[in-house]
C-alpha cells in the first residue's frame, strides 16, 4: 500500500493554519478543559502542551480520572478545550466550526474505541467500507484497500457477519481495520484493550503496531495498562490533568520495567 497522505476536502476546508513545533503532526498548546457546572473543582486538563510527531506509536498513560480520554477527544477534534489551541497537521482545530472539524475527522482521523463501536446494523464488510463510502467511493468493495486491509487484519472470512456474531478481539480488529482503511494521518485509540482478555489485547496491540510499521500511520493511544504502553515509540504521562515533557519516555519499544519505574517515580 502506498504511503500516501490522503488529502481530501479537509485540507481546503480548514479555517486556520499555523506552523507546528518541529513539524509535529499533532500539537496542543496551553490547553485547559473544564466541565460546565464544575467551577469549584480543578480543571480536567491544566495547561497541557504537547507535540506529537508523525509516523510514531504514541501512548499517553495515566490513572483513571487523570483526563486521558478528555485529552484524546480534544486532540482528534471530537471536543473543544475551554482554552488553548489544538493543531492537527498544521490546521487549528480550535478555530474550526463543527462542519469543518467533521470533514477533517472524515479524511485524516481514524478511531478505535474501548467498546468497539461497530455499527450494529451493518456487516463487518460494511463497517469496514464505511470510511471509504465517506470519502465518496461509490463501490468500496472494488477499492484495492478494502481487500488488502481485510487480509492484513484477518477478516476475509468474516466480512458478511454482523458485529454481534464476532468475539471481542475480532470486533476490535474490525474496529482497527476500519480506523486505518482510508489512510488517515492519525489513528486515535481509547483504551482499546480495556474490554479484552490478555491474549486478545496483545493481538489488538500488535495490529495497531502494524498500522504504524506497515501502513506508516500515526497512532495515539491512551491506556492505564503498562503492557500496552510497551508498544510505544513515545510514552507520555498524564497526572492530575498535567503533562510534563520531562516525564516522557522515548525510543521504544519500551521495557515494561522502565515504565513501572517511571510510574512509581510519579506516584501513579
Amino acid at each position: 500500500m502506498a504511503d500516501a497522505t490522503h488529502h481530501s476536502s479537509a485540507s481546503s476546508s480548514s479555517s486556520a493554519r499555523a506552523p507546528t513545533s518541529s513539524g509535529a503532526l499533532i500539537e496542543a498548546r496551553n490547553v485547559f478543559r473544564l466541565y460546565p457546572g464544575a467551577r469549584d473543582t480543578a480543571p480536567v486538563l491544566q495547561d497541557v502542551s504537547l507535540a506529537l510527531p508523525e509516523g510514531k506509536f504514541i501512548v499517553i498513560m495515566g490513572p483513571s480520572g487523570s483526563g486521558k480520554s478528555t485529552l484524546l477527544h480534544l486532540l482528534c477534534g471530537l471536543d473543544l478545550p475551554s482554552s488553548g489551541q489544538i493543531f492537527l497537521a498544521g490546521q487549528e482545530l480550535t478555530a474550526m466550526d463543527d462542519e469543518a472539524r467533521t470533514q477533517l475527522r472524515r479524511a485524516w482521523v481514524g478511531f478505535v474505541f474501548q467498546f468497539y463501536n461497530l455499527v450494529p446494523n451493518l456487516t463487518v464488510g460494511e463497517n469496514l467500507a464505511l470510511p471509504l463510502l465517506l470519502q465518496g467511493i461509490t463501490d468500496p468493495r472494488k477499492d484495492p484497500r478494502y481487500e488488502e486491509i481485510a487480509r492484513l487484519f484477518g477478516l476475509q472470512d468474516k466480512l458478511g457477519r454482523r458485529p454481534h456474531e464476532l468475539s471481542g478481539g475480532e470486533m476490535q480488529r474490525t474496529s482497527i481495520a476500519r480506523a486505518v482503511i482510508h489512510q488517515p494521518r492519525a489513528v486515535f485509540a481509547d483504551e482499546p484493550t480495556g474490554n479484552l482478555s490478555t491474549k486478545a489485547g496483545l493481538e489488538v496491540m500488535e495490529h495497531l503496531k502494524k498500522a504504524v510499521d506497515l501502513l506508516h500511520r500515526t497512532v495515539v493511544l491512551v491506556t492505564h495498562n503498562p503492557r500496552d504502553a510497551r508498544f510505544a515509540d513515545e510514552l507520555h504521562f498524564l497526572k492530575d490533568g498535567r503533562i510534563d515533557p520531562a516525564w516522557s519516555l522515548r525510543g521504544g519499544p519500551l521495557d515494561e520495567h522502565r515504565i513501572h519505574a517511571r510510574l512509581e517515580e510519579l506516584g501513579i
Binding site: V109, N121, L134
Partner: protein, 875 residues
C-alpha cells in the same frame, strides 16, 4: 449504494418489528381516513343515483312563492332583494310555447316547404335570470355566446335539441306562449284548472334569435329552450306560471332562518340534490366521521413518534459513532429522512391494501357514512381525495419519524458516544406532547366549525357549549401538566396493594414510573384520550338510542302499524277490527305542501283529546278544518308554536291554518318525524285526497293487549302482498334501536382501530422503558431476579398505567359526553339526554386496563431475554 441509503436500509431491515409497527401505524391512520372518504363519496353518489335528481343548477336555497304568477315584468321581488341572508338570487320558471313558422310561400318546392312541417311544434321553455350561469352554474356555452341582457330577444338551445330542431346560431325562432291546462281540486272535485279571466290570455308571438348552444350538463342536458327571464316574462304575460328563485346565502346565513322569515309568502327549501347528505344531522354525522378518522391519523403519528423515540434510544450511540467517523449532520439527516421516506412509502402501500379491505368490509356490512343499511350501488375511487390523504399521511409520518432522530443529530458526539444516557434523561417527545396537549383544547372550536354548518340563531348557544367543552379539556390537560407528580403518585397508589402479591415486582415497577414521569405522562394521556373518545361517542350513540326509545314509546306505544296493498276503507276496517283493537285510523291520505300533510278524522282526534290535552274549542276548530296538528320536529324546524298561523299552498291559493297542538303522539308512520295533520274532510276539499282507500293504517290497541301476538294474528288475516308490514310498537322500537346501533358501527370500526393504535403506542412506550432499563434489568437478573419476575414487573406497570389511564378517561369522558350531547341536542333539535351510571365509569376503566395489558404482553415476554448479558454489552 450511498451511505445514506445503506444506513437507512440496514436500519429498517435490522429491526423488522419496529419497522413493521411504524409502517402499521401509518397504514392504519391512512386506511381509516381513506376508507371513510371513499365510502362517503360513494354513499353520496349512491343516494344521488337513487333519488334520480336532475340538477339544473347549484343554488343554496330554492324559494317558491305560495301564489302563482310573476312579479310585474319579471322584476325581482322586493322581499328577496332586501333580505340580509341572500347574497344573490336569480329567477327561473318553466313554460310551454308553440313554435310559429310562417306558411310556405305559394309555389315553393318540397325542400323549401320543409319548415312548414314543423309548424306548431311544442317547446318547453325555461326562463333564467342573468346570474343563472355565472352564480349558479346552470349551463355552459359550447358555441356562440350568452344572453346580452335579461330582456334581450335571444334564445339558447342545448346542442342536441338544436340539432333535432334543425336550428343553427343566428336563426330566428318565433314563439307563442301556451296557456297550460292542469288538473286540480275545487271543493273536493278533481277539475281541469284552466285559468279564466285576464290571467289566462296568451300574449302575442315574439321572435327570438338563437345566440348560443349549451354543452351537456345541468340545463344543457334538458330538452328545453332557454330564454332570458325578462323576455320570457313578456312572452308569458297573462299566463299563470310558477316561478322559483334560486338563492345564494350570505356568509354565515342559515336557510332555516330565511325560511321562517319568508314563510308567509314563500316556501324556502334546500334543493333536493344538495340535500343528499347535507341535512344538518347528516352533515354533522359525516363530518364527525371525518374528524374521528383524522383522530386515527394523529394517533398513527403518535405511534410512529413513539416507535422512533424507541429507535433514538437504541441508536443514539450509533449516531454519535457516525458523527465521530466523519458523517456530517446533513448526511445523518439525509439517512434519517430516507429511512422515514421508505417507511412512509411502505406504510402508504400497506395503508392502500388495508383501505381496500376496510372499504370491502364496510360495503359487505352495508355501513355507509349516512348510517347502516344503505347499500352502496356505486363503488368508485375519488383519486384526488385518496392521493391527497395518502400524501398527507406520509407527510405526517415523515414528520413523526424524522423529528426524534433529527433532534438526535444535534447531540454532541461525546454525549452520544457515552451510550446516549445523557440524551435519554430528557424525553425527546416531551415538547411535542405538551404541544399536542395544549393544542387540543384550542383545536376543539376549530373542529366544531368544520363539523357543523352555520346554525343561525342557535349558533351562540352551541358556541357557549363548545367553549365549555374546550375549557374542560384544557383544565384536564393543564392539571396533568401543572401537577407533574400527580400521575406517578396515582400509579404508585395503584401499585401499592400489588405489593402484597408481587413485593419485588410492584416496587420495581413503581420505581420505574417515578424515574420516567414524562414518558408515563405522554403514554397515559394518549391512552386516556383515545379511550375517552371511544366512550364519548358511545355516550352520544346511547343518547340517540335513548331518544329513539322514548320517542317510540310516546309515538307508537299501545299501537300497531300496518302497511298493506291498497284496501278500501271498509274492507280494511273489517280486516283490522279485532277485539283487542280500540280504533283503526288510516293515514294514507297525504299531500306535500312541502311538508307531509296528512288527513285525520275528527272522531279519531276526539278519542285522543285527553291524552293531547286538547280543549273543546281546539277540537271544534280541528273538526271545522281550521287548524293543524304538528309533529314536534316540524314545529322545531320551522319555529312554529301552538296558536301560530301556518300558510299552506293549495289549488285554491294560500290557505291559513292555526296550530291546535304540537305532539308526536299521532301519525307515526313509517318513520318521518316531520308532518302535520288536518281534518280529513278539509284535506279532501282542498286536495281531493281522502282515506276511502288506503295502505297505511294505525291500530290503537285496548289497554293490556299483546302487540306481538296481534302482529301474528294479523299476519294470518291480511292478504299477502310484497310490501306488507305489520309492526307492533315493540317491533318498531326494536327495529329503530337496531338501526340506530348500526348507524354507529362505522364509528366503532374507526375508534377501535384507533384504540389498537393506542395499544401499539403503549407497547412502544413499554419497549422504550425496557431498552432504557436494560442495564438495570441486567443487574437485577445478575442478582437473581427471574425472567418471569421481569415480565411480571412490566405487567404490573402496565396494569397500573391501565387503571390510571382508565380513571382519567372516565373522568374526562363524563363531562365531555354531557357537553357534546347538549351541543348535539341543540343542533339536531332532538331531546338527547346524558345520565351517569356506574357502568359508564367502569367501561372506560376496563377498556384501558385491557388495552394496557394486551400492549404489555409482548414486552413482558421479551423483558427477561433482552436483559440477559446486558451488563456485558454496555458500559
Amino acid at each position: 449504494m450511498n451511505i445514506a441509503s445503506m444506513l437507512a436500509w440496514r436500519s429498517l431491515a435490522s429491526r423488522p418489528a419496529r419497522s413493521f409497527t411504524a409502517a402499521l401505524g401509518i397504514a392504519v391512520g391512512i386506511a381509516t381516513v381513506v376508507s371513510v372518504q371513499v365510502v362517503d363519496h360513494n354513499t353520496i353518489l349512491t343516494q344521488q343515483l337513487k333519488s334520480q335528481v336532475a340538477v339544473l343548477g347549484h343554488p343554496d336555497v330554492e324559494i317558491k312563492p305560495h301564489a302563482t304568477g310573476l312579479p310585474d315584468g319579471g322584476a325581482a321581488p322586493a322581499e328577496l332583494a332586501g333580505d340580509r341572508d341572500l347574497a344573490v338570487f336569480c329567477g327561473l320558471f318553466y313554460g310551454h310555447a308553440e313554435r310559429v313558422v310562417a306558411a310556405p310561400p305559394p309555389g315553393a318546392t318540397p325542400a323549401e316547404s320543409d319548415g312548414a312541417e314543423r309548424h306548431g311544434v311544442d317547446l318547453t321553455t325555461l326562463a333564467l335570470g342573468p346570474l343563472a350561469a355565472s352564480a349558479f352554474g346552470a349551463y355552459s356555452i359550447s358555441e356562440g355566446r350568452d344572453f346580452a341582457a335579461a330582456d334581450a330577444r335571444e334564445l339558447l338551445l342545448p346542442e342536441r335539441l338544436a340539432a333535432e330542431l334543425g336550428l343553427a346560431i343566428g336563426d330566428s325562432v318565433t314563439l307563442q306562449s301556451v296557456v297550460p291546462v292542469r288538473e286540480g281540486c275545487r271543493d273536493g272535485k278533481v277539475v281541469r284548472l284552466k285559468p279564466s279571466g285576464p290571467q289566462a290570455t296568451p300574449g302575442a308571438p315574439l321572435a327570438f334569435t338563437l345566440v348560443g348552444l349549451l354543452g351537456p350538463g345541468n340545463v344543457g342536458s334538458q330538452p328545453v329552450a332557454v330564454l332570458p327571464f325578462e323576455s320570457a316574462a313578456q312572452l308569458y304575460a297573462g299566463v299563470p306560471v310558477q316561478p322559483t328563485w334560486w338563492g345564494r346565502l350570505a356568509d354565515g346565513a342559515v336557510w332555516q332562518d330565511l325560511a321562517q322569515r319568508l314563510k308567509e309568502r314563500y316556501v324556502v327549501e334546500k334543493p333536493k340534490g344538495a340535500m343528499i347528505g347535507e341535512r344538518i344531522d347528516q352533515k354533522a354525522f359525516r363530518k364527525s366521521l371525518g374528524i374521528t378518522s383524522c383522530l386515527a391519523l394523529l394517533l398513527g403519528l403518535f405511534v410512529i413518534y413513539n416507535a422512533f423515540s424507541m429507535a433514538l434510544v437504541e441508536r443514539v450511540r450509533e449516531i454519535g459513532l457516525l458523527r465521530a467517523l466523519g458523517l456530517t449532520r446533513g448526511e445523518i439527516a439525509r439517512a434519517v429522512l430516507l429511512e422515514g421516506l421508505l417507511l412512509a412509502i411502505g406504510g402508504a402501500l400497506l395503508g392502500g391494501m388495508l383501505s381496500v379491505a376496510l372499504v370491502g368490509l364496510m360495503n359487505l356490512l352495508n355501513i355507509t357514512t349516512l348510517g347502516a343499511n344503505k347499500p352502496l350501488q356505486i363503488l368508485e375511487v375519488p383519486w384526488p381525495t385518496v392521493l391527497g390523504v395518502t400524501a398527507l399521511g406520509m407527510l405526517f409520518a415523515l414528520f413523526g419519524m424524522a423529528s426524534p432522530l433529527l433532534r438526535a443529530r444535534h447531540l454532541s458526539v461525546l454525549e452520544a458516544l457515552r451510550a446516549g444516557r445523557l440524551a435519554l434523561r430528557a424525553d425527546p417527545g416531551f415538547s411535542l406532547r405538551v404541544g399536542l396537549l395544549l393544542g387540543t383544547p384550542l383545536m376543539i372550536p376549530l373542529v366544531f366549525a368544520l363539523v357543523t354548518p352555520p346554525l343561525g340563531e342557535r349558533q351562540s348557544q352551541v358556541q357557549g357549549l363548545i367553549l365549555m367543552l374546550a375549557g374542560v379539556v384544557a383544565a384536564f390537560f393543564l392539571l396533568l401538566l401543572a401537577v407533574p407528580g400527580l400521575i406517578h403518585r396515582l400509579v404508585g397508589a395503584v401499585l401499592w396493594p400489588l405489593r402484597l402479591a408481587l413485593p419485588i415486582e410492584a416496587r420495581l415497577a413503581a420505581a420505574a414510573v417515578r424515574g420516567a414521569r414524562q414518558r408515563v405522562l405522554g403514554t397515559l394521556t394518549g391512552l386516556a384520550v383515545v379511550v375517552a373518545a371511544v366512550f364519548v361517542v358511545r355516550a352520544v350513540n346511547d343518547g340517540f338510542l335513548d331518544e329513539i326509545d322514548r320517542f317510540s314509546q310516546r309515538a307508537a306505544g299501545g299501537r300497531l302499524f300496518v302497511r298493506t296493498r291498497a284496501l278500501p276503507r271498509d274492507e280494511a276496517l273489517r280486516l283490522l277490527s279485532l277485539p283487542e283493537v280500540a280504533r283503526v285510523d288510516c293515514l294514507s291520505a297525504e299531500v306535500l305542501v312541502p311538508f307531509p300533510l296528512r288527513g285525520l278524522r275528527a272522531a279519531s282526534l276526539q278519542a285522543e283529546a285527553a291524552r293531547l290535552r286538547l280543549s273543546d274549542a281546539a277540537l271544534a276548530d280541528f273538526a271545522r278544518g281550521e287548524s293543524l296538528l304538528l309533529s314536534n320536529f316540524l314545529a322545531e324546524q320551522m319555529g312554529w308554536r301552538s296558536g301560530d298561523l301556518v300558510t299552506v299552498p293549495t289549488f285554491s291559493g294560500p290557505q291559513e291554518f292555526r296550530i291546535a297542538a304540537i305532539s308526536d303522539e299521532l301519525g307515526y308512520w313509517p318513520d318521518d318525524r316531520r308532518f302535520a295533520l288536518v281534518e280529513m274532510g278539509r284535506l279532501d276539499e282542498l286536495f281531493c285526497v281522502d282515506d276511502s282507500q288506503g295502505r297505511h293504517f294505525i291500530l290503537t290497541l285496548k289497554p293490556g293487549s299483546d302487540g306481538r301476538a296481534l302482529e301474528r294474528e294479523l299476519a294470518a288475516r291480511l292478504p299477502d302482498s310484497p310490501d306488507r308490514q305489520i309492526r307492533s310498537a315493540e317491533t318498531l322500537t326494536d327495529f329503530y334501536l337496531a338501526d340506530g346501533r348500526r348507524d354507529f358501527y362505522v364509528f366503532d370500526v374507526i375508534l377501535w382501530s384507533t384504540a389498537a393504535l393506542a395499544a401499539i403506542g403503549l407497547l412502544n412506550s413499554l419497549t422504550i422503558a425496557l431498552l432504557e432499563r436494560q442495564r438495570e434489568i441486567g443487574l437485577l437478573r445478575t442478582l437473581g431476579l427471574t425472567a418471569r419476575q421481569i415480565g411480571r414487573m412490566l405487567m404490573a406497570e402496565a396494569l397500573a398505567l391501565g387503571v390510571v389511564g382508565g380513571v382519567l378517561a372516565a373522568l374526562l369522558a363524563a363531562p365531555v359526553s354531557k357537553l357534546v350531547l347538549d351541543a348535539v341536542r341543540v343542533i339536531s333539535r332532538l331531546d338527547l339526554r346524558y345520565w351517569f351510571t356506574p357502568a359508564r365509569f367502569a367501561a372506560p376503566l376496563l377498556a384501558a386496563i385491557a388495552i394496557a395489558l394486551l400492549a404489555a404482553w409482548w414486552p413482558a415476554r421479551r423483558g427477561g431475554r433482552v436483559a440477559e448479558g446486558a451488563l456485558n454489552r454496555h458500559e
